[in-house]
Amino acid sequence: MYSQGLIGADGTTDEDEAFLQHFQSRIDAEQKIEPNDAMPEGYRRTLIRQISQHAHSEIVGMLPEGNWISRAPTLRRKAALLAKVQDEGGHGLYLYAAAETLGISREEMTEQLLTGAAKYSSIFNYPTPTWADIGAIGWLVDGAAIMNQIPLCRCSFGPYARAMIRICKEESFHQRQGYEIMLTLCSGTPEQKQLAQDSLDRWWWPSLMMFGPHDSDSTHSDQSMAWKIKRFSNDELRQKFIDATVPQAEFLGIKMPDPDLEWSEKRGSYDHGPIDWDEFWRVVKGGGKCSKDRISDRQAAWDNGAWVREAALAYADKVRARQATAAPTPVAAE
């Protein structure tokens, strides 16, 4: 899953021209930047913001789907959904680790999420009232995420690119899992098919918003493109997603909730109707239906886990103190 990571990312930087030029020449030569390499402060700040928000999105993204684990219709569906949600947790951890290489601690990132200083993808502030929503999330939300994430595998920052390679490998089952749920509903009773249509109606526009504002309104994109953190513009990726997804909906026999959606022979792409950016900004700023619940759930998880973290550290100290009295015998690693 993906956050609109660039919103609020500040790429301004004040190193001297020679330093910036040398750094840019490394980027232009497609060299990977590694954590201990010299880098502009703006590059570091942009990446910390983008990677941490991406990580938060994976973690918060477990909540809307977790809502259905106990109510999945069959054991097969339940096992698959559990595995998917566990993957999202794993993806969050890979990404937190990548961000930590830039000098921010896990605790600081958690605090930024809980206080609202860092965002996560707005898509997870929408509710999942029906089982069909689990299908729509896998199909559309993970589908949009994959479009965004594949170019990130070639991001100029080594640890982020490596984490994304792992994530993309694991993510492909998520989208298929979702589409299969939609397919089952669409070949069921009229009521089941209506559930699928209703879910598509609610998730289509928010999925398109996942790619972020139009290129003309995307303030920090140019610098991120130059630094090769980002490889394609928001609108390019959104168009790719629409072109890939519309035929999949046609196969299901359900309709996108966009009367203006039409194939353009001239462009070789689908034209689409206007996106409601007021809604987008309202949800980004915390006005989503589930915004408060998501953060209070994360806060509760953090607070309720405090005694476990304390006990684990206290136990580790005790064991270390005990071992200090016994002499260690080094052995070669196997």
Partner: protein, 95 residues
């Protein structure tokens, strides 16, 4: 946040194909036992390996990127360390 920081561990996994352990990422854990469990949960959900190492990140000594030229550049000029430097007549065939 006044949380004590949970230590960081680097995770290495040996895949089934007989290659050596390879760095795959990191985990936070209070002690080695928990680090191994976390590494197993986070990095081996799809049969990635048959053996896991965890090493406290603080125990790793790394070369300084600033010394890169001094450390690694000299090897670039020593082409006689590679088999292609030496001429073997065609008649000798495989060597």
């Amino acid at each position: 946040m006044t949380e004590a920081r949970t230590p960081l561990w680097e995770v290495f996994i040996r895949p089934r194909n007989g290659l050596s352990h390879k760095h795959v990422g990191s985990v936070h854990a209070a002690d080695a036992t928990m680090a191994l469990q976390a590494a197993r949960d986070v990095y081996t959900r799809r049969g990635e390996g048959l053996s896991v190492w965890v090493v406290p990140s603080a125990e790793i000594t790394a070369s300084d990127p600033a010394d890169k030229d001094a450390l690694f550049e000299p090897t670039a000029s020593k082409i006689y360390r590679h088999p292609t430097f030496y001429e073997v007549p065609d008649e000798v065939e495989n060597m």
